[in-house]
């Protein structure tokens, strides 16, 4: 179906929100949740993922929250998406050392290599788009 997950969309929305917030101070999960009608717990987890991937950093306690760790010009949206989606590939076998463990058709499959070419092109679409371009 080639659809992005909701988590990926929420991650992009949150990143954009933080980028637009003109530098000053943190954005809290609650704030983003209310602004974009995203369930609080869900956006909180997404933000935590962004922290883990060094795209954002966080501050606990009162007046705490999240903020971008780099300039929007330096953050590729593929990193934002991969922070929340582990498998961002068009097929199950599309990774280093793909094997018959990934797909029962692996041995008889004749479309792996052509699809790898397409995968690379799609990767480039995301890799070449930076947060600053979606503000």
């Amino acid at each position: 179906m080639l659809k992005l997950s909701k988590k990926a969309e929420y991650a992009l929305m949150a990143a954009k929100y933080m980028a637009l917030k003109n530098s000053s101070g943190y954005s809290s999960a609650k704030e983003i949740s209310e602004n974009y009608q995203i369930p609080y717990q869900l956006v909180a987890k997404v933000l935590q993922n962004l922290v883990k991937s060094d795209i954002a950093f966080s501050a606990k306690g009162m007046n705490g929250g999240f903020a971008l760790a780099k300039k929007p010009e330096l953050i590729s949206i593929i990193d934002i998406i991969k922070a929340v989606e582990s498998k961002f590939k068009i097929t199950d076998c599309m990774h280093e050392n793909g094997s018959e463990q990934d797909c029962s058709h692996f041995n008889c499959c004749k479309i792996k290599d052509p699809l790898a070419v397409i995968q690379k092109k799609i990767d480039n679409v995301f890799t070449d788009t930076y947060l600053v371009q979606i503000l």
Copy 2:
């Protein structure tokens, strides 16, 4: 997760099979099913979808089967995929007249337009790849 459905993969495999079969005669669903270890009923349905989309044609009865309706140079793989996947878009709202019916965030969403740009690029990746290129 951005993954292609199995039906889409099967459609590509079946189209490739028919293209490689040097013109002569039909390919039966059973034949393709056995060659690629795809459940018979499933590949049969996929082939029927290809017929509906005028990518292949069929002949009933003994010695019947399926064959491509056009040259592989003229068949874009986006048509093969769309024959089996109705919604081939990265978000729910990504179609003509998308509205809040499609997504509860539609009104507050700030990433629709940037994602539409990305959608267009992805569409091009598939549109610009023809069956002949994956043989």
